[in-house]
């Protein structure tokens, strides 16, 4: 693989919201795939085994670290969902004009945070 031409390195670009959305899509996706899956499977396993297994899960979920993990997973889910919708739009060839792309990127990040806040607000209120 030596002496093959390389594309310009990441470091030469000025950071913009589209770059943040792109890397967050990967981080939140891989985070959900690893941490999210473990928590989901733990929850389902605890429900299936019942009794003290569910008590252990509920206790862990109720600790400060538990809440931090659950809030993190919920943000990762909503952020990945929003940037995933952005990918669908980009896939059809739309949204590549500079200003529109920038606005859409910022909207993706804001929507992910707002949905996370709305979810936890609804969880507390309902």
């Amino acid at each position: 693989m030596t002496n093959r031409p390389l594309s310009p390195h990441l470091g030469v670009y000025k950071w913009g919201p589209h770059m943040l959305v792109s890397i967050l899509h990967r981080i939140t996706g891989d985070g959900l795939a690893l941490v999210g899956m473990v928590v989901l499977v733990w929850w389902l396993g605890a429900l299936a085994y019942g009794g003290s297994a569910y008590e252990t899960f509920a206790w862990a979920a109720g600790t400060p670290i538990g809440y931090l993990v659950l809030i993190g997973i919920s943000w990762a889910f909503f952020n990945h969902l929003c940037s995933g919708i952005r990918h669908f739009v980009l896939d059809i060839g739309a949204g590549f004009e500079l200003h529109e792309n920038r606005r859409f990127s910022v909207a993706t990040l804001v929507a992910g945070i707002l949905l996370t806040a709305a979810f936890w607000a609804a969880k507390v209120l309902l």
Partner: protein, 131 residues
């Protein structure tokens, strides 16, 4: 990749011929995840409580159990495809790359099967009215 003939120098450097299939399946499952994920999040909010009995009674109903199994299959497949891309991007040794992707498939099939089985067990062993 050989280094003798001209063709030997470039063999193995081209595409793996799995790209379109991978790309499409990532989109199909993303579409499924969008709706199933929205359903799951809404359900978590609408359930009166997340204590064991309430959740088990909810999963005893055929439609929630079916939707949750579909969610597991769609998200696990999507997650496996996504982690494969991460491995392909960051692991450069061909042997390690192939080994990790193989291991990834085994882990996701095994854990996914466990998750689906858990839903079936919860659904089929919870008594009371299913409506």
């Amino acid at each position: 990749m050989g280094d003798g003939t001209e063709i030997g120098k470039v063999r193995g450097l081209g595409p793996g011929h799995q790209g379109a299939h991978h790309w499409l399946h990532q989109r199909y499952t993303a579409f499924g995840n969008l709706f199933l994920g929205a359903w799951f999040v809404t359900s978590l909010l609408l359930l009166s409580s997340l204590d064991m009995d309430t959740v088990r009674d909810w999963l005893a109903k055929p439609i929630p159990a079916t939707a949750l199994i579909l969610l597991i299959v769609s998200t696990f497949y999507h997650a496996r495809l996504g982690l494969q891309v991460a491995i392909e991007d960051y692991v450069h040794d061909e042997g390690s790359k192939a080994g990790l992707i193989g291991l990834l498939s085994l882990v996701f099939v095994a854990v996914g099967t466990f998750a689906v089985f858990c839903v079936l067990k919860i659904s089929l062993t919870t008594g009371g009215s299913i409506l």
